[in-house]
């Protein structure tokens, strides 16, 4: 069960934080969205997931104990809204800016895109008209691609199923988070030459957000400084490369 694995990860991170130098005596609670590759369970290479790695890197650098709870997206967000969680790494959107306190950028690259099969170049959505598009169930609800009658939508249970359909030639294109799709490309040993093109349809950056009024200002400041330092040092980029193929980096 994913929840159980998340709890185990959380505990391991909490243990790590206990041995670090304490900056925020009470420590911080992080919520991590339970999506691949942001959180990995039972990874053969021992990887814990990109978000977990980022949270860990920030906590280590700050020297504070961190409790990281792996949750579904909605629950992570609602926890942050209700003050049950201190911080979450999510995409920066106007909605997030209004509901939470953006602290610092983690990565610029957090786009949603359409990736076509080899031989199907794409520069615009119309390029996949008449083709089959794998879309993870529930995503792109308000996107035009969901309502475009010229695209044959193939709903899937997740990116893994979408990528496998893509590799098997059952679909002509796959839509979703680039990072997630690339992660599965690596798992399915799909390289750059195996695809036709990539069409970003939503541009977003990944930010550290904290609950409003929940975390003391000095801690916010320190979080901001530490995150910026780590981004500047390319720590997050290095961490990202652990999860996506080189030719997609």
């Amino acid at each position: 069960m994913n929840v159980a694995k998340s709890m185990a990860t959380c505990l391991s991170m909490l243990s790590l934080a206990l041995f670090a130098k304490p900056v925020f005596a009470e420590g911080l609670s992080f919520a991590t969205v339970d999506l691949v590759p942001y959180v990995l369970h039972d990874d053969p290479g021992g990887r814990l997931g990109l978000m977990v790695d980022i949270d860990t890197a920030i906590a280590e650098r700050m020297g504070i104990p961190v409790a990281d709870e792996v949750l579904p997206m909605a629950r992570a967000i609602k926890n942050l809204e209700r003050g049950l969680t201190d911080c979450v790494v999510i995409a920066l959107t106007p909605w997030s800016e209004s509901k939470f306190q953006p602290v610092a950028k983690i990565l610029n690259r957090f786009d949603a895109a359409i990736i076509t099969r080899e031989g199907v170049p794409i520069t615009r959505i119309e390029d996949i008209h008449g083709l089959r598009l794998a879309i993870t169930r529930g995503s792109f609800a308000d996107s035009p691609i969901s309502s475009d009658p010229n695209i044959t939508q193939v709903p899937t249970n997740g990116y893994e199923q979408s990528v496998r359909l893509f590799k098997a030639g059952r679909v002509d294109a796959v839509a979703g988070s680039e990072l997630s799709i690339f992660y599965y490309f690596a798992a399915e040993q799909i390289s750059r030459k195996d695809i036709g093109g990539i069409l970003p349809i939503i541009h977003a950056s990944l930010w550290l957000h904290c609950a409003k009024g929940q975390v003391p200002d000095d801690v916010i400041l320190r979080l901001q400084e530490t995150t910026n330092e780590l981004r500047a040092e390319g720590v997050f980029t290095r961490l990202l490369k652990r999860y996506i193929p080189d030719d997609f980096s």
Partner: protein, 902 residues
């Protein structure tokens, strides 16, 4: 009886069946439907709870995912899924933040059965479940629904109504179908059969379709019954004729009587309050007779007329009052009481009187019905047992005689030997309780001999079968094991039930056997005695010759050595003479010389010499009664008897002991054992008891001790004549000898001497040999059939100087006397061949030569000797001599006789 088929359909069997089937189907439909609904209701309530709990469980996982992921769309899907069930009126998912993720509701159903649904199922039911991760226990939210019981109840009521309706409908339709089938298959054919039967058909048709079913069977059975009934009627008519003949020709008096008035009268008495009929009848003597007169005899058979000596049925009916006497009246009272007590039958033995006044005995019997109708015709039978009663009386009389017999009477089956009758004396004789032996094997009373009781029984029964009777003696055994002798006289009797019987009359002859045994013993001893006497007689003749020759020879011998030889020879001859004397004593033919004897003195004399006969280790004791009565006996013989007993006593005590001789005066009367044993007459006796403390005598031996030549002593130690001689002597002396003995204690021989009146008798005068002076020249005729004896006597007498003539027989001697020669003395043998014996010769001589002395010789001399009576009748000039005669004794007697005649 007239019958008709039902005209209305409603009266028909099929309609009744249909009505019953429909009613039953309706009731059963309702009943079973209600039962099923009740069972369904319980199941429905349980199932409702289970159903909605299962629904929640089915949606629980999805709801958890919705709540965990705060997926409202999924939550909506779950709620909509639950709403697929019409009974669910509210459903919602609340997340762990207590926010309602999705809620849906619809209005409750309202109808006229709501009150019933709410009463049965409750107003509403709510079910909820916590949405929790099973592994971590994470609570993501709650899923809850609300159920409208009206919806459930409506479905249930609809289903129940259908069940009930279909149940009733099914049963009613089934009943109708069955009724139609029943009518076609059964009622209609039955009506047809009933019609035919009603019309008197002898044979009912059996259609092919009903050939093998119940209707066919009924028709066939009816046909069979019809045939049987026809045959039965025919037989009944025949039986009626036969019974009429039987009735008329029966030897038993049979009559048909109407007792209905009796029944009515008794009922009337009961209604009048009579509770004890017998008391009523006893108190009202005429009532019994009055009731009897109400009986109406309908018919009577010939035997009835014969028994009562009536000339006709009318004669009997007219004078039926004459058949009653007092006993008959009492019997009728009993009969009335039996009717009163509602007995089923009445049977009694009583006496009647014929119309001409002869009393007869009969057994009357009649059934007693339960209803008045039954009393209208009652068969009354009277069995005339007058002759039987007479025979019974005769049998009783004879039985009493048999029972009273002093002999035992026993009847047993020859086929298997089982005893079927014993009289009282038989049972007493054998020591059994009365009748105890009945049923037992007849050999039970037979003692084991060389044959088993079974063999004895088989032998006797075989004899009876073959010869018709058997007489003999059986060694029998009593219940206590006592063995005795039974004299049996058995005859064959053919018994109608038991077959061949042995009727045995038995007498206990044990005493008779003992007496006979004694008699036989006595006769045997008598025979032995006679034989012994005869032998002794002949032996005495021989000894007489030997003795005479030896004595003559001794006169010729002067050499001392030869004299010793001849003396030894003479001594042996004398011992031989003693032996013959003993034999004669046993044979009670001794020449006794009774004299008055004091037995105390005899015993005391014994003491003078007894030390020579007894060893030192034997003590000798005498116990003598003073004033002992004198007895008249041959003292010498008595001494010899006592000596014999002393010697026997000594030999009985080889290891020492005490020998005693006791004398006593005794009086024998009827109570005394010797008297009862028929050994002594009542009177006075003197006893001499010789006792030893020796080893005693066994019972086997004691029966033989008085037999001659019986001895237990080693060969050469005893002649076996001692005790027989004593017995012979004692009996010859009107006494007896008795013995008592006990093994290991000793033996006592008691001599009983007849004391008589105690009058002393003349002492025996001994002839003195020294005084002999022969009358030389006296003429003596010697008559002796034994030539050797004759020769020696002639020689002795010739040498003594007598002139001797001789004859070989009495007849020759008689002829000599007839020729006329004169003799001074006649010596004759007593027993001789020819017509003229010694005694007769002596009498003849006394007639023709009165005063001529006669000397009679005999080897038999004694009271029991042949012709004893004749010798006793001889005159005083006769003298007697016992062979063998010693010379001196002969000469002394001759001289005495000659002197007596002179």
């Amino acid at each position: 009886m007239e019958t008709s088929l039902p005209k209305k359909f409603t009266k028909s069997l099929s309609f009744k069946q249909a009505r019953a089937a429909v009613t039953t189907g309706f009731v059963l439909g309702i009943g079973f439907g209600a039962l099923q609904i009740a069972a369904d209701l319980r199941s429905e309530i349980d199932q409702t709870n289970k159903t909605f709990k299962q629904s929640l469980r089915a949606f629980e996982q999805t709801a958890f995912q919705a709540a965990y992921g705060l997926d409202k769309e999924l939550a909506q899907t779950v709620v909509n899924g639950l709403f697929q069930q019409p009974a669910v009126v509210e459903a919602k998912i609340i997340d762990s933040y207590n926010d309602t993720m999705y809620f849906k509701s619809r209005p409750h159903l309202k109808n006229s059965f709501s009150w019933l649904a709410e009463g049965i199922f409750g107003e509403a039911k709510s079910f909820s479940t916590r949405l929790t991760d099973k592994q971590t226990g994470f609570h993501a939210g709650d899923l809850s629904i609300s159920v409208d019981t009206n919806v459930i109840a409506q479905a249930f009521f609809q289903r129940s109504g259908l069940i009930l309706s279909f149940g009733i409908l099914r049963n009613v339709i089934l009943a109708i179908i069955l009724t139609v089938l029943f009518h076609n298959m059964l009622t209609r054919p039955l009506r047809k059969l009933a019609g035919l039967i009603h019309d008197g058909a002898q044979e009912l048709p059996v259609s092919a379709s009903h050939k093998n079913d119940e209707l066919g069977a009924i028709a066939l059975e009816y046909n069979q019954l019809s045939r049987d009934r026809s045959e039965a009627i025919a037989r009944l008519l025949q039986e009626e004729v036969r019974f009429r003949r039987l009735f008329e020709n029966s030897e038993v008096s049979l009559s048909n009587a109407d007792y209905s008035n009796v029944y009515k009268t008794l009922n009337q008495l009961r209604e009048e309050g009579v509770t004890d009929l017998r008391q009523y009848l006893d108190n009202n003597e005429n009532a019994t007779w009055d009731i009897f007169t109400t009986i109406n005899i309908l018919s009577a058979n010939l035997a009835t007329l014969r028994i009562f000596n009536a000339s006709s049925e009318a004669d009997l009916l007219e004078h039926s009052n004459k058949t009653f006497n007092q006993l008959t009246l009492e019997m009728f009272k009993d009969q009335l009481c039996a009717i009163w007590a509602k007995h089923s039958t009445f049977r009694a033995e009583t006496t009647f009187k014929t119309l001409d006044g002869v009393e007869i005995v009969g057994i009357i019997s009649l059934p007693l019905p339960e209803t008045e109708d039954g009393f209208r015709s009652i068969p009354v039978s009277i069995l005339d047992i007058t002759e039987f009663k007479k025979a019974e009386t005769e049998l009783t009389f004879r039985g009493e005689i048999i029972e009273g017999m002093s002999e035992g009477v026993q009847a047993s089956r020859i086929s298997d030997g089982i005893i079927i009758y014993t009289n009282a004396m038989h049972d007493t004789m054998f020591g059994y309780e009365e009748g105890e032996l009945i049923g037992e094997f007849v050999g039970t009373t037979s003692a084991e001999t060389d044959k088993t009781p079974e063999q004895t029984t088989a032998h006797i029964h075989g004899e009876i079968e073959a010869n018709g009777s058997w007489v003999g003696e059986i060694r029998s055994i009593k219940k206590d094991g006592t063995v005795f002798w039974c004299e049996v006289s058995a005859t064959k009797f053919e018994h109608p039930l038991h077959g061949s019987l042995s009727i045995a009359v038995q007498s206990d002859v044990t005493e008779k056997k003992i007496t006979e045994e004694k008699l036989r013993q006595s006769q045997r001893l008598e025979a032995v005695g006679q034989l012994t006497g005869g032998v002794a007689h002949d032996f005495n003749n021989l000894l007489a010759v030997i003795m005479g020759n030896q004595e003559l020879l001794r006169d010729e011998i002067t050499d001392p050595e030869n004299l010793k030889f001849i003396d030894a020879s003479i001594g042996a001859t004398r011992r031989g003479a003693d032996l013959t004397k003993s034999m004669l004593a046993f044979a009670r033919r001794s020449q006794l010389a009774p004299e008055s004897t004091d037995l105390n003195a005899l015993v005391l004399d014994t003491k003078n010499w007894i030390h020579r006969a007894l060893p030192e280790y034997i003590d000798f004791v005498t116990v003598l009664e003073s004033n002992l009565w004198a007895v008249e006996i041959d003292r010498s013989a008595a001494e010899s008897a006592v000596l014999n007993l002393i010697v026997n006593a000594r030999d009985a005590m080889p290891d020492g002991g005490e020998l005693s001789i006791a004398t006593a005066n005794v009086t024998i009367d009827e109570t005394s054992k010797p008297y009862q044993a028929n050994e002594l007459k009542a009177g006075r006796y003197v006893t001499v008891a010789v006792s030893d403390s020796g080893h005693g005598i066994s019972q086997e031996i004691i029966a033989k001790i008085f037999e001659p030549f019986f001895t237990t002593k080693p060969i050469g130690s005893g002649s076996g004549l001692g005790l027989s001689m004593i017995q012979g002597f004692m009996r010859q002396s009107r006494g007896t000898v008795r013995v008592t003995t006990e093994l290991g204690v000793g033996t006592t021989f008691t001599l009983y001497f007849d004391a008589g009146s105690g009058t002393p008798v003349r002492p025996k005068k001994e002839l003195e040999l020294a005084a002999i002076a022969t009358t030389t020249g006296a003429r003596i005729l010697v008559v002796e059939d034994q030539q050797d004896v004759l020769d020696i006597i002639k020689l002795i007498l010739t040498r003594a100087g007598y002139i001797v003539s001789s004859a070989n027989s009495g007849d020759a001697a008689k002829a000599l006397f007839d020729d006329g020669p004169e003799f001074d003395l006649l010596i004759t043998d007593l027993v001789m061949p020819g017509e003229t014996q010694g005694a007769e010769l002596a009498r003849y001589v006394s007639q023709i030569c009165p005063g001529l002395p006669v000397v009679i010789m005999s080897g038999y001399v004694g009271n029991d000797a042949p012709q004893d009576n004749q010798t006793q009748q001889l005159g005083p000039q006769s003298f007697q001599l016992t062979k063998p005669i010693r010379r001196n004794e002969l000469l002394l007697v001759i001289e005495a006789a000659l002197q007596h005649s002179a």
